[in-house]
């Protein structure tokens, strides 16, 4: 398919859509699927057929529409009506009401902050296209950025555009994407690789899953543009085996893109070729670390190795390799299409663009959101998230997963950007945002993350392997009431040591949840240790000495 044909296809598809009177987008992503949205789709299809509306009403299996807690969600276009908690039985009523006023009892208001405060780049297509349709993606401008890059830009210009955009790695570290690309582009060698890290490992994060399930072509396009920019012809998507739907949609998208000639050999009639293959992760958080991920793609144990040399010079099979995460790649088509300056104008000076967050925990509106950088935590939690349910009191918000920290009340008005989050002892991370109220015990939360880190430690370096185990033991002592103040001192000593001496990021950041909870909630630790009492009432304190037990 040449760029011209691509354009024609988009036009034709738009024309065809115009012939329809209505289009129903049913969310088929994981959370809504759990609420049996597949049955809803079937019910709509049957109802359309029964009413003989096949020519005028289309039912599409669409991607995430954000409000996961209220699924299954159904969007009706062109009316723009959103329905929540739709059951198969509702299909008839919704169809019969098309053209007229919406079915009131099912309407999910979209003029609320949850939707109004968002700004969609990565999620611009989510819920607006059939996730399995290449045509739908193309009709909304898909692969136009790749066409522009291949026909109107040199690889160097593409790198410059990304550099201008100020895009930073969305996987957690916040490394400048443009700098990474130019390093790989400059690295000597004929053979280079592009890898998409889709091993979304943070417990409490599902941004990448949602993007892959809702808009898989977006990621493929981003990867192809990156490959062109750095001079690679082969790429891998390393995706979690626990995401079967994402795997299926990616595999399907790769096949369709190759058939359409927007991926594979001689893309869009140019001399540029780019082959993409999937590699399945197998349940190892540490494989989110670049060198471990490479080791895993090579079919080995996912143990990290010391850096330098960095993958940009010495990566997959020893070749220069570019690794970015799903959300980073998903930003690229929009940057190339609209220009780096456009992207840089969104967000803050040092943290450009938007960030997708998975909002979960003790908050009214749980789901997926995309907001401009620089928005405050309060706006996210109270305006978009609708606040804390059941009249409870906010205690902390956790960002960055097991490598991040818990941010207390006093920083709610802080802007969300890489630097501010780091300043208060957390990190941007990949986008998990877990809200906690007074029913959460911060020591228990720290113990939860340490349990995660010790089971996910690869076991190669001593501080991480044994240190996380001991820290978990000490935190368990605190939560069962048997700890002393010496144990607390030792815990702090281990935090410092493991942070400074571990081989890779997993170990170096494993103490963060403990450090941040100690920083803001030391009184909770002391209540457990000295008074043998859990203020939140979570810990059972079963080994507390009897004379002081409450």
């Amino acid at each position: 398919m040449t760029p011209e044909e691509l354009h024609e296809l988009a036009q034709a598809h738009l024309e065809a859509d115009k012939k329809l009177s209505h289009c129903l987008f049913v969310c088929g992503a994981a959370a809504c699927l759990a609420a049996r949205s597949d049955a809803v789709i079937e019910a709509f299809q049957a109802a359309v057929k029964a009413r003989g509306l096949e020519e005028s009403v289309a039912v599409k299996n669409a991607g995430c529409m954000g409000l996961c807690a209220l699924g299954p969600l159904v969007r009706v276009e062109p009316a723009g009506v959103l329905y929540q908690q739709v059951t198969p039985e509702d299909a008839g009523a919704i169809l019969d009401g098309l053209g007229g006023p919406p079915v009131e009892r099912l309407v999910c208001p979209t003029d609320v902050p949850f939707y109004q405060r968002q700004f969609n780049i990565v999620l611009e297509n989510s819920g607006h296209i059939d996730s399995e349709s290449l045509d739908d993606y193309v009709a909304r401008g898909g692969y136009a950025a790749l066409a522009k890059a291949l026909t109107a830009m040199t690889p160097g210009q593409v790198v410059d555009e990304v550099t201008t955009s100020g895009l930073r790695g969305r996987g957690g570290g916040g490394y400048r994407t443009g700098l990474k690309w130019s390093t790989v582009a400059k690295a000597p060698g004929q053979k280079k690789y592009v890898i998409c890290n889709a091993d979304e490992g943070d417990p409490g994060a599902f941004m990448d899953r949602s993007v892959l399930e809702s808009d898989p072509h977006r990621v493929l396009e981003g990867m192809a543009i990156a490959a062109y920019a750095v001079g690679a012809n082969e790429g891998y998507i390393y995706v979690r085996a626990e995401y079967p739907l994402a795997i299926k949609r990616l595999a399907d998208a790769i096949r369709k893109a190759q058939r359409a000639g927007v991926l594979g050999n001689a893309i869009m009639g140019t001399t540029f070729s780019f082959q993409v293959d999937l590699r399945l992760g197998a349940g190892a958080f540490v494989c989110g670390e670049e060198t471990a991920l490479i080791s895993s793609i090579e079919g080995k144990r996912g143990t990290p190795r010391p850096r330098p040399p960095y993958p940009a010079e010495f990566g997959l099979w020893g070749r220069p390799t570019l690794i970015n995460n799903v959300e980073t790649f998903a930003n690229v088509p929009a940057i190339v299409r609209n220009g780096g300056h456009w992207f840089a104008s969104i967000g803050t000076e040092k943290s450009a663009g938007t960030k997708v967050f998975a909002l979960a925990g003790r908050v009214v509106n749980t789901g997926l959101i995309e907001v401009p950088m620089g928005i405050t935590l309060r706006e996210i939690i109270y305006d978009i998230g609708g606040g804390i349910p059941e009249g409870r009191k906010f205690k902390a918000v956790q960002t960055g997963g097991p490598s991040g920290g818990c941010i207390p009340q006093q920083y709610l008005d802080m802007p969300v950007d890489y630097e501010s989050l780091a300043q208060v002892g957390s990190i941007m991370g990949s986008g998990g945002m877990i809200v906690m109220d007074e029913t959460s015990c911060m020591v228990d939360v720290a113990r939860f993350f340490m349990d995660f880190c010790r089971t996910e430690s690869c076991g190669r370096c001593v501080p991480c392997r044994v240190g996380t185990t001991h820290m978990h033991t000490l935190l368990t002592r605190i939560t069962d009431g048997s700890a002393t103040l010496d144990d607390l001192a030792l815990l702090e000593e281990l935090c410092e040591m493991v942070k400074q001496t571990s081989l890779c990021g997993l170990g170096q950041t494993a103490p963060n949840p403990v450090i941040s909870t100690l920083r803001y909630f030391r009184d909770e630790y002391l209540a457990h240790i000295v008074e043998k009492r859990c203020p939140a009432g979570v810990c059972r304190m079963t080994r507390a000495p009897k004379e002081v037990a409450v």
Binding site: A31, C68, P203, G204, F206, R301, A360, T366, G401, I434
Partner: protein, 166 residues
Amino acid sequence: MTTAVAAVSPPTDDKRWKMVETTMRKHGHQPNALIETLHKVQELFGFLDDDALRYVARMLRVPLSKVYGVATFYHYFTLKPQGEHTCVVCMGTACYIKGAATILEAIEDAFGIAPGQTTPDGKLSLLTARCLGSCGIAPALTIDGRMNAKGDPSAVVESLRKVIAT
């Protein structure tokens, strides 16, 4: 090298080994296809036994201890046969905050098994996941691959009983 590969025959004449062989062939029997091949074996047979590991090792020319090292490094792989039905409880942060531990306890109590174990009658295997990526509907769990949203302990135990009875 090809002769050595040709000399190896599958552990049994089960037709599924042909599909395993197809996966290996797709990757040119390269040692780096190890993880992909193990995924295939587990998908088809439900677990990885010594015979399977030995076969894959010979076919891909990977040392036995390396195959074993890989199979045990990744928690997605299991060396033990699973029960007829599988329940995976998500222990991700959002689910934990919303009481996943209580659900897990209820299942453990009701069926007398700990995570990683299978009931003596081979009906139910209980597993935990670090995150199912369904935090918006926490606490989440899957029963035979089907996602179950906003679980509550007694309801989950009830639906598990139903699944096992069928």
